[in-house]
Amino acid sequence: MDDLQYGKRDKRGYWTPNEPAGVAPIWSFPPQVMKIIKWLPQYFFPYDVLWVLSALAWWNWILPDVEVMKTLAWGWILKLFVVNLVAVFVFFGVYEWRLYIKRAQGTRFKYNAKFPSEHPSEAFWFKSQNADSILRIIFHAMPIWTAIEVGILYAYANGYVPWISFADHPWYLLGLALVMPIIHETHFYLIHRLIHTPFLYKHVHSVHHNSVNPSPYSSLSMHPVELLLYLGMALWHLVIPSNPILALYQLHRAGFGAIPGHIGFDKIEMGDKSGLPTHAYIHYLHHRYFEVNYGDGLVPFDKWFGTFHDGSKEGDALMNARYAKRKAQMNGTQG
């Protein structure tokens, strides 16, 4: 595929799609029915269907009987940890292998023409973005992911929270499942604004932002506090009457689902003529420019609060105006 038919690459090697990033059309007024109909499949496919299936697979084949989960025992917890760890590395690894190791499509549709492995940086452990990210996934992300999962399952198994069954309340649970992406987006936006406050940014979120040119393993390369806040979105299912399978779906959506924003490519080529859109651009712009796009656009929080950047020159101008104000303050106090 010729990526220059779909965007432009500037002198520095940054590729910008012709089509600016947009928020979900469900919020436009008056309603744009055709746009919504065209967009609707994205709400489910491919990712959310995958997370629902993975939650069902975990429930049916990985997790033990509810009786076993009433007790915190090393056996089932370690098994769950190992399966989670392997699953993350297989899933993230498929993208890494195809796009960053095999480089099956070179830099076509890559937002930043550089490959992180060719640019060692002091920002990372062992000067390597991948080594840093992989170690953080093994030693921070997966223990925290598994601990949250175990805590939720333990609470359900022991009846500490209401367990709504699909047999008794199918429509309620279906409705809850349908709004879970919105729960995710809202939770993510709120904690993201929180960790961009100066103290938390400096001591917590800067770890994730070391990846200015994110790649698949950057997805969960975070400080433990950020991981607790981010993966902790699944704990909403201890507050909202729900079902453990939906809690697993929410957790998988956060954990496995962190990857779309960090792929670094706008499309994954599927042959010579078609490409699978990654929907990575909004979050890529956040990694590049830091203080835009705190959300992923499903709910237009950034538009409402004036931090949206669609990748266009107009978006640049808005961002630069905010930046000029902030810079004037910083340099004014500098003396």
């Binding site: 002198k11 520095r12 640019h119 940086s121 002091e122 920002a123 932002h209 070391n210 200015v212 590049r288 420019y289 830091f290 203080e291 930046y323 902030r326 810079k327 910083m330 340099n331 500098q334």
Partner: protein
């Protein structure tokens, strides 16, 4: 105000390139534009202490290699987050193929 000192040969810096220059325990960055103008700034990014000379110069912009903050090499103005504080600039000129700098 100190005197002009010779920092390096102009040929030691590529066009649209930068070179680290250490002097009296401090570090600076010297830039060469596409039209052979030279500029000199403090050497470390004002966001985090990273040597700017390892970054990429394009037109009149140096991009920090760590977080992609950017500065105008003519004025030291910070141009892009996360860099907010401007760089301190020093005088620079070319004399007989040598880059001369006057450090503040």
């Amino acid at each position: 105000m100190s005197d002009w000192i010779s920092a390096c040969d102009l040929s030691a810096i590529e066009q649209e390139g930068a070179l680290r220059f250490d002097h009296n325990g401090r570090t600076y960055a010297i830039y060469r534009s596409a039209t052979d103008e030279v500029f000199c700034s403090d050497g470390l990014c004002t966001h985090e202490a990273v040597h700017l000379a390892d970054g990429l110069v394009m037109d009149y912009e140096i991009e920090c290699p760590k977080h992609s903050g950017a500065f105008d090499i003519r004025t030291g103005d910070a141009l892009r987050l996360p860099a907010c504080k401007n760089l301190r600039m020093h005088d620079a000129r070319v004399e007989d193929g040598k880059v001369m700098v006057r450090l503040r």
